[in-house]
């Protein structure tokens, strides 16, 4: 009789469905997965160790590069940790700006997720539509910080600068001219807030568009309904958070339960799944886009009505203005000290978390009173989620592994750090 043995296959690290550099060693019985062993760390850069040798502010830029599709949420966790140790609070306008950009980031992240997850499962078109809207929001990132992705916009004590009065416009070129150019610039005549208002008004219909492509799509449902079921007990045990937890029907969202920034003042709902399968998590994320859009709308309205400072007036932490430096010796000294030495953070330790699009993104920061962190630990949601891979995909078919990687919403910048 022929001996039947399990077969081990290697999946990734160079595989389009591996979302970066995930290497999976799968033990297969026919087409059924018996054991999954994810190998991570192929993108490990030692962010936490690098941060230990740099002044606090110079590590903000590293945060963008962790989860590189939800940049500002990572910064938010980091600056909140510093603010807590130093004992300062950002002005209320900065809190609203942060709330607004956190939600813009959430939409950006979910658009990336819906596009790539659908692409993994064979629906090409969603990706193209999702990137159309991502482009608009990336322009907001660029308008406010000068960078499309790695913004370094949040600073301890507020945000780098106030929102721009003018939204950059497309210039005429061989490809963009005439009526086309006019249509593309239609939202961009006024300030960034005008642009966002127009975007938000329109975005609900765009989410409906994605839903017409997927929600009742027979193939999509065959690939996601009943696949990768995470029970509430498993979700607790594996330290899951964000849509992974809510997809399993646990009503937990840090924005509601432990509100930070201006989340206590805005109105939004938390969508919950019932079965905890990939389809439920899909529905949760789609609804989260609508809710994020609602929050952005409310923030736009508030920001329009309430001008004010966006940074604390404390030159030990925040740099003085350029004009101030020109004729004030004190301001010049403060500027010099801040940018050569940085600021010393009182000794202590804190854990501060934000509800990032993927789940709870936390920063555990230990300071010994120096101008550099003594220890910085990044708690990445994707790391906890991916660790449950073996338990969740056991007994599933090989293509379901791809569906599961998609629904975890893994980004290796944050998992490998």
């Amino acid at each position: 009789m022929q001996e039947i043995r399990n077969y081990t296959i290697n999946f990734g690290p160079q595989h389009p469905a591996a979302h970066g550099v995930l290497r999976l060693v799968l033990e297969m019985d026919g087409e059924t997965v018996m054991r999954a062993d994810p190998h991570i760390g192929l993108l490990h850069r030692g962010t936490e160790k690098l941060a230990e040798s740099k002044p606090f502010n110079q590590a903000i830029g590293y945060m963008d590069r962790l989860d590189y599709v939800s940049m500002m949420c990572n910064e938010h966790a980091y600056v909140r940790a510093i603010e807590k140790l130093v004992g300062i609070q950002a002005p209320v306008r900065a809190q609203y700006i942060r709330t607004m950009f956190d939600e813009i980031t959430r939409i950006l992240n979910h658009l990336m997720w819906i596009g790539s997850n659908a692409l993994d499962l064979g629906a090409m078109a969603v990706f193209l539509y999702a990137f159309r809207e991502r482009e608009e929001l990336m322009d907001c990132y660029e308008a406010v910080s000068g960078a499309r992705m790695h913004a370094t916009y949040y600073r301890p004590g507020g945000v780098y600068r106030d929102l721009p009065d003018r939204m950059p416009q497309y210039k005429e070129s061989r490809w963009r001219k005439g009526g086309d150019l006019k249509r593309m610039n239609a939202w961009r005549e006024g300030s960034m807030l005008d642009f966002l208002e127009a975007f938000c008004k329109d975005f609900y219909s765009k989410v409906d568009e994605y839903e017409t492509l997927l929600t009742d799509n027979r193939i999509w449902k065959q690939r996601t309904v009943g696949i990768g079921v995470v029970t509430p007990e498993q979700a607790y045990a594996w330290g899951m958070s964000g849509p992974m937890l809510r997809g399993s029907g646990i009503a937990w969202d840090l924005r509601k339960k432990q509100p930070y920034a201006a989340y206590a003042n805005v109105d939004f709902d938390i969508p919950l799944g019932t079965k905890g399968d990939c389809y439920d998590r899909y529905l949760v994320r789609v609804e989260e886009m609508r809710q994020s859009n609602r929050i952005v709308e409310q923030c736009v309205k508030w920001l329009r009505a309430n001008p004010g400072p966006v940074m604390v007036e404390n030159f030990k932490i925040a740099p003085p203005s350029r004009e101030g430096m020109k004729d004030d010796m004190e301001a010049l000294i403060h500027h010099f000290k801040l940018f050569t030495e940085g600021y010393c953070v009182p000794a202590g330790e804190t854990y501060s978390a934000v509800e990032a699009p993927k789940g709870e993104f936390g920063i555990y920061l230990i300071s010994d009173g120096a101008n550099k962190p003594f220890r910085l630990k990044v708690r990445a949601p994707g790391f906890a989620h991916l660790s449950s891979m073996d338990e969740i995909v056991r007994g599933h078919m090989l293509p379901d592994v791809v569906a599961m990687i998609g629904t975890y919403d893994v980004v290796f910048g944050e998992i490998d750090r």
Partner: protein, 244 residues
């Protein structure tokens, strides 16, 4: 009045764990419980299962190396005739090679493990911490039996700090390269690393060589113990008063 207030989490932890507790601190609404490595597992069992605590989730397990805690490279009290170079010479954090790495003082209690717990039932967080008794071979019992999600976090702490989690089912390296030597996040591991890797076209394979770059950290490590933050604290107090 004060006796009518319900006991704080710190007080309840003290009452429940008594002799197991090394220290409980409460700071700006965050509670940290320090226990010894011997009572590690029993404390977590109680924290997870007892109705008063019910910490269902181990959010994070973090290894820490306390070597060099509170040391600076820049004297802020005396007056010096030297320039900037006094801050960047020497072998402070990130400024040494593998061969020059600093030696730890014996019995320093370098290594610690900090676990962030979250109670979804009570909407509460707790940080539980323990120092490893032995610097040469830091051992802490593994939490994987209680919180399966601690698995990878403990592998990470093992990989980066060399903390051994007793009872862990699969204590392999996780973030570093296959065949990596050393524990890179230890404070005596050079920031530049010790080997670099490149493709050798003659040998037609990837080869490892000692690092060729020099350690270079631009900003000295400064600890200032002065009144710089009085303004921040005064502002916070003023804000709190205005809020009321």
């Amino acid at each position: 009045m004060s006796e009518n207030l319900p006991p704080t989490l710190a007080q309840r932890l003290n009452a429940r764990f008594g002799a197991d507790v090394v220290a409980v601190t409460e700071w700006r609404g965050e509670t940290t419980l320090e226990v010894s490595a011997t009572s590690w597992l029993s404390v977590f069992q109680a924290l997870r299962d007892e109705a008063d605590f019910r910490f269902e989730q181990a959010i994070d397990v973090c290894g820490i190396d306390y070597m060099g805690y509170g040391q600076s490279e820049w004297d802020t009290t005396g007056i010096s005739s030297q320039g900037f170079s006094r801050g960047v010479e020497g072998q402070g954090p990130g400024r040494f090679r593998w061969s020059e790495r600093p030696q730890a003082a014996p019995n320093e209690k370098r290594y610690a493990v900090a676990v962030q717990l979250l109670s979804i039932t009570h909407n509460r967080r707790l940080c539980v911490k323990c120092y490893c008794p032995d610097d040469a071979l830091p051992i802490v019992p593994s939490l994987t039996g209680l919180f399966p999600g601690a698995n990878w976090f403990e592998r990470e702490a093992f990989d980066l700090y060399g903390i051994v989690f007793e009872g862990h089912p699969d204590l392999r390296r996780i973030l570093t390269d296959y065949g990596f030597v050393g524990h890179p996040f230890r404070k005596d591991f050079p920031l530049i690393g010790n080997v670099e890797v490149r493709y050798d076209s003659e040998k037609q394979r990837v080869i490892y060589e000692p690092v060729s770059i020099d350690p270079r950290v631009l900003v000295p490590r400064v600890i200032r113990d002065d009144s710089r933050y009085d303004q921040a604290q005064a502002e916070a107090a003023a804000n709190a008063a205005a809020g009321k």
